[in-house]
């Protein structure tokens, strides 16, 4: 078993090497990506500043606390650009062309293969600037981060990444039945924009939707609360368990879905 795991890591390393060298052919993209990240962040900060200049606290969060939420959103957005988007948009293509066959017959876990086959370096500017922004707010606020809150932050961030991944993967999986579904992920992306702001800034009805129907709360607000030290331990444990359950569900759903796969064009 350990030997098998080892080979998966080696495989992924090889895949990522090739996909990075392929992407680096388009170096202009790095330039575009950096401008786009800077523009996006300054635009979002500008919109936030409109709220705070008006003397309004977004759901009781201070300015720097809201900036942390925005920073976490930026990190997740970068991960989406780097891993989720390039891999999961391919599932749809593979179902359409019938090339999913070649994935399924390989002696590798097909979910891991499909989720980590390629990587795009263009999300890295977002990820870096997200972390920089968090560091900056803590330096400005002259707050000292304890190791404990960093640990809690890492735990909640990992669980938010798992949740984000599971949502994407479950939606991409439905392409086994519906084939042309790639813009369903676009819908998901557009709703996740709500994660730029603390969830408590929304009216009660939307807050309910973003917590129980689409767990956006766990994506950005919970990790922000963790690093700001305003979270209870039970919420952290709940968010971890919840993310593991979703991950498990995504795997079960995938195995269920491929039993319906009819393999187009073969």
């Amino acid at each position: 078993m350990s030997k098998l795991n080892f080979s998966i890591f080696r495989l992924i390393k090889a895949f990522w090497n090739t996909s990075i060298s392929k992407e680096l052919e388009y170096r202009l993209n790095l330039f575009i990506e950096i401008i786009s990240v800077i523009g996006n962040l300054s635009g979002s900060l500008f919109v936030l500043s409109i709220f705070y200049k008006g003397g309004f606290n977004l759901g009781g969060w201070t300015w720097s606390e809201s900036v942390v939420v925005l920073a976490i959103y930026t990190i997740l957005d970068g991960l989406t650009t780097s891993i989720l988007q390039p891999n999961l948009s391919r599932i749809v293509q593979q179902v359409q062309d019938g090339t999913l066959d070649f994935v399924l017959i390989k002696p590798v876990n097909s979910q891991i293969w499909l989720s980590l086959r390629v990587i795009s370096p263009w999300g890295i500017p977002s990820i870096i600037s997200g972390f920089l922004l968090i560091t900056y707010t803590f330096i400005i606020g002259k707050k000292i981060l304890s190791l404990y809150s960093i640990l809690l932050f890492c735990l909640t961030l990992i669980s938010s990444i798992f949740i984000l991944y599971s949502l994407w993967f479950i939606i991409a999986t439905t392409s086994i039945w519906f084939v042309r579904i790639w813009n369903a992920n676009e819908v998901l992306r557009s709703v996740l924009v709500a994660g730029r702001y603390p969830i408590s800034a929304f009216p009660a009805g939307l807050r309910f939707v973003f917590t129980f129907l689409l767990p956006i709360t766990f994506l950005t607000s919970v990790p922000a609360e963790a690093i700001l030290g305003k979270i209870s331990l039970s919420l952290i444990i709940f968010s971890l368990l919840f993310s593991l359950a979703l991950l498990f569900l995504s795997n079960k759903f995938w195995n269920f879905a491929i039993s319906f796969y009819t393999s187009a064009s073969s």
Binding site: Y26, L28, N29, I32, E33, I35, S36, G39, N40, G43, F46, V47, I50, F51, K53, G54, G55, F56, L58, G59, F178, R180, I181, N183, A184, E186, V187, R189, S190, V191, V193, A194, Y197, A201, F202, P203, G205, L206
Partner: protein, 263 residues
């Protein structure tokens, strides 16, 4: 001559409409993915009243719902489809036809809007069921004006994207630039925050760009807010004219670089 053009336009539109009808489910999903103004309404409705700019919840509701409608009918994806056609050599047969390929893309966008209409009406009905106390009725004349404004706004956005789509002739990943075009549209058009809430200097800069006129202006017209109708239309038409000239010129320059990949 005139009749021939009308015939051509009708044929283009009806074939593209038939094509779009095939992808109803996809178009429905695209319609939902334009939900951003409604999400922003959620935040503004909690924040707006306390901001003290004379903005009340009724104002915000009509503004953001109108912005949602305007955005639905000004969606543009010509850069992506042009890049695809260019890279796969599908542009070659289009070039042989005695019609500026621009019209093919333009008509497919218009056809998509027609397909989208029932879905937008459905979403609007749902919004109104949940918010019926904030319902507003713009006058028929204002509705008529805003339909024209939305169509010109769509044309301006389409022409702007068409200009940048021409970069495909030189670079095979030009659609990455679309991300950059989206930025000023997102933050300067009034999509995420009404221009009235901007600080004066930034608002003035925004008004020098075409972006407020392609979203904020038609949205306010539709919402029945106070807006300088003459100035709005003047700007829309001016920008459409400028972009049309540049786009035509860029096409003439670019098409000479076309290498017919895949053919």
């Amino acid at each position: 001559m005139k009749l021939k053009h009308l015939n051509l336009a009708y044929t283009l539109l009806s074939t593209q409409y038939a094509l779009m009808l095939e992808y109803r489910a996809e178009i429905f999903l695209w319609a939902i993915s334009g939900i951003l103004p409604l999400i922003m309404y959620g935040i503004w409705s909690e924040a707006g009243v306390s901001i003290g700019l004379g903005i009340d919840s009724k104002w915000l509701f009509s503004y953001f719902v109108s912005a949602f409608i305007v955005r639905q009918f000004t969606a543009v994806w010509v850069m992506v489809s042009f890049e695809e056609d260019n890279l796969e050599g599908r542009l070659s047969p289009y070039l042989l036809q005695p019609i500026y390929p621009f019209w093919r893309y333009f008509s497919s966008h218009v056809a998509e809007q027609i397909t989208r209409l029932p879905f937008v009406l459905l979403i609007l009905t749902i919004i109104f069921i949940f918010n019926n106390q904030l319902f507003w009725f713009p006058s028929p004349f204002k509705v008529f004006l805003s339909i024209i404004a939305i169509f010109i706004a769509f044309t301006v956005r389409f022409l702007l994207h068409w200009i940048f789509a021409m970069i495909c002739f030189w670079n095979d990943r030009a659609s990455a630039i679309e991300r950059l075009l989206l930025l000023p549209y997102l933050f300067l058009s009034g999509l995420v925050a009404p221009l009235d809430t901007f600080p004066e200097p930034i608002k003035n800069i925004a008004l020098l760009t075409p972006f407020p006129y392609v979203l904020s202006f038609p949205a306010k017209l539709l919402a029945g807010h106070n807006v300088d109708i003459f100035n709005g239309f003047l700007n829309l038409i001016l920008w459409a004219f400028v972009f049309f000239i540049i786009g035509f010129w860029a096409w003439k320059k670019g098409v000479r670089h076309y290498s017919g990949m895949g053919a």
